[in-house]
């Protein structure tokens, strides 16, 4: 099996699906000849031409709005938003239009659009090249939100996303775009949406993460293991709909839970996880669930490593919850 990084895995999935399905088109800023600022679409323009790989004017509302129209026509658009931080000009098209088209038309107009966008900090990107806005979309019925952490999931989940018929926010962990490498099967395979993955089995405490935070969580679990603490790490992979069985089963087993979230704490997706676990496994909990999150400030530049949850901070939380 070839070893790929996440960029290569995404690129591979796009090429594969565009060869397989003529309806798949890509559009966005600089996705054409340039292949995208992170090069995730490189080679597509050369292979599929300007009709299926479209450089657009600088307008996210236009990118998503026109993608919706293409989807209504029967195409399979996969627009790219250059950074998740720049998705807000398209917010109305996403939450009021894309998310509601199927429902508001009584099922007559499904709009299968898969919006790819890199998210997260750790690349010295400051306010506007670091954000993790998944909670906004998780709170929007009609959208699915997929957040892979590694190459094989990125490929399998992207293929599955393009082939299903609901709108998907596909958020890619830019901090580990190249750092996260792994074996990725050649050719066609899918990883179904809505299934979490236990990336490390453990008995004492459940540690939940998604996107780039999964790597920080694993680093923390390794450190904890060195202190003899046996942590179970869950990579949610899809946050809407999320895999409640796997999550609750793990917490019932361990009786303790820590959630690692890069986004600001208040009203982040971690809060939903805490609420759900408490609704379903309260009597199994031996300690309060702790959230290790980004702070409730805009994403800073110089102090980004102080801002972002790191392994030490997660280890601290694991200890506190275990010793509670």
């Amino acid at each position: 099996m070839p070893v790929m990084n996440i960029i290569q895995a995404v690129n591979d999935a796009l090429k594969l699906e565009m060869r397989r399905d003529k309806r798949v088109v890509v559009l966005g800023e600089d996705v054409g000849k340039f292949g995208g600022v992170f090069r995730a679409t490189s080679g597509l323009y050369e292979e599929f031409g300007p009709d299926r790989v479209m450089d657009t004017p600088l307008a996210e509302a236009g990118i998503v709005g026109t993608a919706i129209g293409m989807a209504l026509y029967g195409l399979r658009p996969v627009p790219e938003i250059q950074f998740a931080d720049f998705i807000y000009p398209a917010f109305d098209q996403i939450v009021n239009e894309l998310a509601k088209f199927r429902y508001r038309s009584g099922g007559q107009y499904p709009a299968p659009v898969v919006i790819r966008t890199p998210c997260g900090g750790g690349i010295r990107g400051g306010h506007y090249h670091s954000q993790s806005p998944e909670a906004y979309f998780a709170h929007t019925p009609g959208l699915k939100v997929v957040m892979p952490s590694n190459p094989i999931d990125a490929k399998g989940l992207l293929l599955a996303s393009i082939r299903q018929n609901d709108p998907v926010l596909f958020m890619e962990p830019k901090r580990v775009y190249r750092a996260a490498r792994g074996d990725v099967p050649e050719g066609d395979f899918e990883i179904p949406l809505g299934q979490a993955k236990v990336v490390r089995e453990g008995q004492k405490i459940t540690l939940v993460a998604w996107s780039a935070m999964v790597h920080t969580a694993q680093e923390a679990a390794d450190k904890a293991a060195a202190d003899g603490v046996d942590v179970e790490v869950i990579d949610l992979r899809t946050i809407v709909p999320f895999d409640v069985e796997t999550l609750v089963a793990s917490v019932k087993k361990t009786g303790r839970c820590v959630i690692a979230q890069e986004a600001p704490k208040t009203c982040g997706f971690g809060a939903e996880l805490v609420a759900t676990i408490c609704e379903r496994a309260m009597e199994w909990l031996e300690a309060p669930i702790e959230r290790v999150c980004g702070f409730d400030t805009p994403f800073p530049y110089t102090l980004e490593h102080e801002y972002m949850p790191n392994a030490d901070r997660i280890v601290g939380a694991l200890k506190r919850v275990l010793e509670w």
Partner: protein
């Protein structure tokens, strides 16, 4: 060929009395079609009157009329049935012309169990996929880039289909108008931008909406032609739309059509124009009523007779009454239908919420019977 006009130039075929103007040429339209067009405008006028009355009687939650703007709805006559219509909330005639039934129309207003959109949206937010009439949204302007994308998609698929998108002059102030027009210009997408400039956006007059000399002139900012026409002149509407459609299909790109008309009624049943508008202003527009002008034209052509109109009106009225009685007697959609169509397949959390609600529904509570 459509050409960008001087901003004050206004294309007309008919004068206010329904005479073909000197120098103008009426489009060739078979008699049956002329009658059908007239009949659909009449239908809009009559159903608006009826439904507004029902709303005033508290039997409908909300309503919006198109009175005085019916000619703009008939632009679709110049298109093919496969072409796509992205409507706003004020062009029901375009749906009727394509075969949307009075029955479905009224059921949508009631949001009852027979509503094609299952009671999901407010009245006048129709969606009719089988006639390529796209789902109407309240947020103003959002359909504009969608229409551009649809048209671009058709071109990518190698089809000849085009899209027409309707909106008011208020919508031209939105960012969506700008991005939809700009993408269309760059892509030379086969899309027709049809602006009903009816002078008002709720209480906001056109003069507070933009300082540009016209709406048509805005097309120059996107590199394609804009043309200003008399929107109460159905022949100008059809002729101009046909020309723009020909351009689009020839690969020459989009056209912006500014149809000058007037919102004679209130913005909606929730609105009270007397607070902000001189009551004489709407009156002045009655003399260029689009239906009356067309009627006079048809009469001169020997196509219209009072007897024929009497029969048509009676037939329409009867159908409206019958379908309204039926719609009013139809119950609400089943509670469980609320959870359908959020996604193609219902995920666990919605399934649980649905089951939970159905359990509740079985317990006594006034809220659960309609």
């Amino acid at each position: 060929m459509v050409v960008a006009p001087k901003s004050d130039e206004l294309r007309r075929v008919l004068d206010d009395d329904g005479n073909v103007l000197p120098g103008a040429k009426a489009p060739e339209i078979p008699e049956a079609d002329l009658k059908n067009l007239y009949r659909n405008m009449l239908l809009v006028r009559l159903i608006d009157e009826r439904m507004l009355r029902l709303q005033r009687q508290g039997r409908l939650g909300f309503y919006m009329t198109s009175t005085g703007e019916e000619a703009t709805h008939m632009a679709v006559y110049a298109l093919r049935p496969e072409d796509w219509v992205f409507p706003s909330y004020r062009e029901p005639g375009a749906a009727f012309f394509r075969g949307y039934s009075i029955r479905d129309y009224i059921c949508q207003l009631y949001g009852n169990a027979a509503d094609p959109i299952k009671g999901r949206q407010m009245p006048v937010h129709h969606a009719v996929a089988k006639i390529h009439y796209v789902s109407i949204s309240s947020p103003v302007g959002t359909q504009i880039p969608q229409a551009t994308g649809m048209a671009r998609g058709a071109a990518i698929a190698g089809k000849e289909d085009l899209a027409i998108v309707y909106f008011g002059e208020g919508a031209t102030s939105t960012g969506e108008f700008h991005v939809g027009m700009n993408f269309a210009g760059v892509w030379k997408a086969p899309v027709l931008f049809f602006c009903r400039n009816n002078g008002w956006a709720i209480s906001t007059p056109g003069s507070k909406q933009t300082a540009s000399k016209s709406i048509a002139i805005k097309a120059a900012a996107y590199g394609f032609p804009g043309i200003r026409i008399d929107g109460n002149d159905i022949l100008a509407v059809i002729q101009t739309t046909a020309e723009a459609a020909a351009r689009a299909r020839a690969g020459e790109g989009p056209t912006l059509i500014e149809a000058l008309t007037y919102r004679r009624g209130a913005h909606s049943s929730s609105d009270d124009p007397s607070v902000y508008r001189d009551p004489n202003e709407p009156k002045q527009w009655e003399k260029s009523d689009p239906i009356e002008r067309f009627r006079r034209y048809l009469e001169r052509q020997g196509v219209w007779t009072a007897a024929w109109e009497k029969d048509e009106s009676a037939a329409i009225e009867a159908e409206i009454v019958r379908d309204n009685d039926e719609a009013a007697a139809t119950g609400a959609p089943p509670v469980e239908s609320m959870f359908d169509d959020v996604y193609e397949e219902m995920p666990w959390h919605l399934r649980e919420q649905k089951e939970w609600l159905l359990r509740q529904a079985r317990t006594k509570s006034p809220h659960y019977h309609h």
